[in-house]
């Protein structure tokens, strides 16, 4: 998830300030083409570093902002078991954010810098989290569809060219598939429940289906950075390929529990061995990327508030650690 490039075009080699040694560039490209992992101390082109920091921090921010729509239901989870599962899930997402920030820090950008970029609106996060969670079924829909789409995006990244990112992805993917199953299980339960619960489940699918398809990013012909990212093995499949895969896997899951995917154009294509499906509302997608999602303001406000209200706590921890270090030094 969240790995889709949501910014404009990265500066290419020609535009970077300092010309890079062609021999180094060639050696780097050869290593990547050979599927070797690039490690933090290895030489890498500046544009590669920048693209990675942007993609990884965007992914980390998405994990963190993504805690909000689900956190919205922790206090209202319908029973003790669901409450515990949801708490554990949102805690996992915080952990994902932490691994990803740590992995991104190996490229020389600090977590505080990345956080500032998020709060100033400079850095992006997945568009999906700018939609509200209105009913309990949304918790099912998010696990099933949003974590499901995340897995689709992230499984190939376990083989991404940057070592620390690939290793973070291995850990994360295991947990995401757990989340996907739990989400689907919620939906299955609701779909087999009372009339009111069934309605809740269908309504959640209706609202989350299209935003989930948007998670794979713009169509390939409008995805400016895809080609370079694929050459660098930062990305391993195109947006449209992943979107198709998601539809093909998810539609039968909806049918299995008696829910209807809200797309009149959806149809099995025997020849392609895949579903044909309707056009995503790209106007809405670009508006949400620009920060015009229905609850984008609430999400940023919540992150801002947590950051600002927490400043005195972080200061205290730092000052206390300094006092301890000074006392220890004096004692030696």
């Amino acid at each position: 998830m969240y790995t889709t490039d949501l910014s404009g075009k990265v500066k290419g080699k020609a535009e970077t300030a300092v010309a890079e040694d062609p021999a180094l560039v060639a050696a780097f490209e050869a290593r990547v083409a050979n599927d070797e992992f690039i490690e933090p101390k290895d030489w890498m082109p500046e544009a590669y570093r920048k693209t990675l920091v942007r993609q990884m921090s965007q992914h980390a921010h998405s994990e963190i902002v993504g805690m909000l729509p689900e956190g919205n239901w922790i206090t209202r989870a319908p029973n003790l078991r669901r409450k515990a599962i949801l708490l554990a899930k949102v805690q996992d997402e915080a952990g994902h954010g932490l691994y990803l920030y740590s992995a991104a820090e190996t490229l020389g950008t600090s977590r505080d810098e990345m956080t500032e970029a998020l709060l100033s609106g400079k850095a992006k996060y997945s568009t999906i989290f700018n939609y509200p969670t209105l009913t309990w079924a949304d918790i099912g829909a998010i696990g099933w569809l949003v974590d499901g789409a995340a897995i689709m995006n992230q499984v190939p990244l376990q083989r991404t060219s940057y070592g620390p990112y690939a290793r973070a992805m291995v850990r994360i993917c295991k947990e995401e598939s757990f989340h996907q199953r739990q989400g689907y299980e919620i939906m299955m339960h609701l779909a087999a429940g009372t009339e009111a619960q069934r309605r809740m489940a269908q309504d959640a699918l209706n609202r989350w289906w299209w935003p989930s398809l948007m998670m794979f990013g713009p169509p390939d012909d409008k995805s400016p950075n895809t080609e370079q990212s694929m050459r660098w093995r930062i990305k391993r499949d195109t947006n449209d390929e992943l979107r198709q895969k998601f539809v093909d896997i998810t539609v039968p899951q909806a049918e299995a529990i008696g829910l209807t995917v809200p797309d009149p154009a959806l149809k099995w294509n025997e020849e392609r061995g895949a579903y044909d499906f309707g056009e995503v509302d790209w106007e809405e997608f670009y508006a949400v990327v620009k920060g015009e999602g229905p609850v984008a303001k609430e999400r940023m406000q919540a992150r801002m508030k947590a950051w600002e209200n927490g400043a005195w706590v972080r200061d205290a921890a730092r000052v206390h650690a300094e006092k301890r270090a000074a006392a220890k030094l004096a004692a030696e």
């Binding site: 805690m67 956190g71 206090t75 209202r76 319908p78 515990a84 508030k305 200061d315």
Partner: protein
């Protein structure tokens, strides 16, 4: 409910309400690491609540399970101590509540592992490890905040001040406690006080914080006399079960 069932119910209610309160922080904590640790404590408390409440329901023998007890009682039937239902306030207030409670809970669970009721003893044996971590976590924060900046110190003092009037209730022995104690099932809570004082004083000293002055205790949670805060907590927690009677989730 008889005394033993009520005894388990009280333990479950304490954990449930504290877990519910800590869950409110999720996604809003001062740092990512804090989000992780608060969620962790909340998760442990909800797990403990599930075990204790299921046991209370089984002992009662009227077909109520943990969910029925958690989601279908009103304020006057909740038996948690008033401390755990206190609002989160700022981070210092949240830490003050956890600090005072977790040390009590760790001492209590330690003693409870010797209970003649094997189920209670087994739940306590698992929970005591969790709650030892909670006590350490909270103590570390009390020290950091108390001996941090001027602001954090002032906030930590205010947080402890808010919570202090609810401490005595933790150690009160009423007829339920007396009956459980007599049966070899419960813990002599009054006997835990000295150890609790010692632990709390040691942490406060390390944090360079004054011990709050003794004050008139607020009591009554065990018999359903709560603060105004509990009703709001329940209305949020119980919303789905109340809005969709008979549905399962």
């Amino acid at each position: 409910m008889d005394a033993l069932a009520t005894y388990a119910l009280r333990l479950g209610d304490d954990s449930l309400i504290l877990g519910q309160r800590l869950g409110e922080w999720c996604g809003h904590a001062p740092a990512l690491e804090v989000d992780l640790s608060l969620a962790n404590v909340a998760l442990d408390q909800i797990g403990q609540a599930t075990h204790f409440l299921n046991l209370a329901g089984a002992l009662e023998g009227e077909g109520r399970d943990g969910d029925k007890l958690a989601f279908h009682r009103d304020v006057m039937d909740f038996t948690n101590c008033v401390l755990v239902e206190q609002p989160n306030g700022d981070f210092a207030q949240t830490i003050a509540r956890l600090f005072l409670f977790a040390h009590y809970q760790e001492l209590l669970f330690t003693a409870l592992t010797a209970s003649k009721d094997t189920q209670l003893a087994a739940i306590a044996a698992k929970a005591v490890k969790e709650t030892a971590y909670h006590a350490t976590l909270a103590s570390d924060w009390v020290v950091r905040l108390g001996d941090g900046t001027e602001e954090s110190r002032a906030r930590m003092i205010a947080g402890l001040d808010w919570m202090w009037r609810f401490v005595d209730e933790l150690f009160v022995t009423d007829e339920v406690d007396a009956a459980a104690l007599k049966a070899g099932v419960g813990v002599d809570k009054a006997a835990l006080r000295a150890a609790w004082d010692q632990r709390v004083d040691a942490v406060l000293a390390e944090a360079t914080l004054p011990r709050p002055a003794a004050r008139r205790p607020v009591l009554g949670g065990r018999s359903g006399r709560h603060s105004e805060h509990l009703g709001h907590l329940l209305s949020e927690m119980q919303f789905l079960q109340r809005a969709y009677p008979g549905a399962t989730w």
